[in-house]
Amino acid sequence: NAGVTQTPKFRVLKTGQSMTLLCAQDMNHEYMYWYRQDPGMGLRLIHYSVGEGTTAKGEVPDGYNVSRLKKQNFLLGLESAAPSQTSVYFCASRTGQGVVETQYFGPGTRLLVL
């Protein structure tokens, strides 16, 4: 049981390049989330999904797209990377039942956009 995994762990992009971050969970969780973490700002929600085939915008969705084609995977795409997207990206998942259920986080992906 690996929990939540993220690939890649680290990536350097040039401005304008595209990339996809992969999040995978093996806990059969319904809900999945993508966050970005910037110094002094905690974690901010980018996009989330409440089930296979559904996605929704979070607090800071601009410049990102997501897809949830399979229940266990949640992909975050950057179509044209910008330096402002330099950040640490975290994926999380949780069961869909109950408000107080815990979100489980992946180890993060460090992205540097030059």
Binding site: G42, L43, V50, A56, Q103, F105, P107
Partner: protein, 115 residues
């Protein structure tokens, strides 16, 4: 709308002394509250959560937090700090207006431990 404020961006204590990390929340509903810890270059780990069952919540690694509705606070404490407690700590409140069970993070408190 729900929000959470961590009152200190950085706390430094000596090893063996008590730890207090402060968190205040704002919520129109009876909130669910969490504390997460992030060690350097690591992901986030749940320390404890408040679910209205008991106001004093015990977590892992000797941490505990007390929910005080009158003060809208959920401060994190530990009687005796250990070097391994050095990390970033996040207070989190559930966004009960959301059907997607979203959570809202505070800005974090960095805990340093002096030998």
């Amino acid at each position: 709308a729900q929000s959470v404020t961590q009152l200190d961006s950085h706390v430094s204590v000596s090893e063996g002394t008590p730890v207090l990390l402060r968190c205040n929340y704002s919520s129109s509903y009876s909130p669910s509250l969490f504390w997460y810890v992030q060690h350097p270059n690591k992901g986030l780990q749940l320390l404890l959560k408040y679910t209205s069952a008991a106001t004093l919540v015990k977590g892992i690694n000797g941490f505990e937090a007390e929910f005080k509705k009158s003060e809208t606070s959920f401060h994190l404490t530990k009687p005796s700090a250990h070097m391994s407690d050095a990390a970033e700590y996040f207070c989190v409140v559930s966004d009960l207006s959301s059907s997607a069970s979203k959570i809202i993070f505070g800005s974090g408190t960095r805990l340093s431990i002096r030998p």
